[in-house]
Symmetry: C2
Amino acid sequence: MDLTTLIGMLAAACTTFAFFPQAYKIYKTKRTQDLSVPMYVIFSIGILLWLIYGIIINNLPIICANAITFIFCVYILAMMVKNKGEIK
Amino acid sequence: MDLTTLIGMLAAACTTFAFFPQAYKIYKTKRTQDLSVPMYVIFSIGILLWLIYGIIINNLPIICANAITFIFCVYILAMMVKNKGEIK
């Protein structure tokens, strides 16, 4: 593997698994008040589009990275919706 | 432009500008308590690596998207550090 590919893979790993500590924090604290709902809605749509793009061009790294990120985002969004319901 | 490229560009636009509502929310509320510091540290490293990757392969969309996202992430991280300082 050349250095460029390695940098790309490291980049993808970072932007994918970065959402794990946020999801874990929400799991522990049950708090989502300071998080932006529009951010996670727009971001999830973006990730879903990346996933479709990856499937069309048949690129496994794009598919895998975005599938994992999508799971984290859906969890974070679900917790936001749950918290909004409880606030009301 | 074909449909595949359009989907890719829409995906990039969503995952880039998704951070704007989060940055704006922090600007308005000055609150970052529920946000995960490790998430934004890892994510910013990832975005920086994407930027380097984009420069190496000379891909303007990758460079532009990640440069914008990086600015949002640095602002969010800076506000987190500022808030941590104030809590102490």
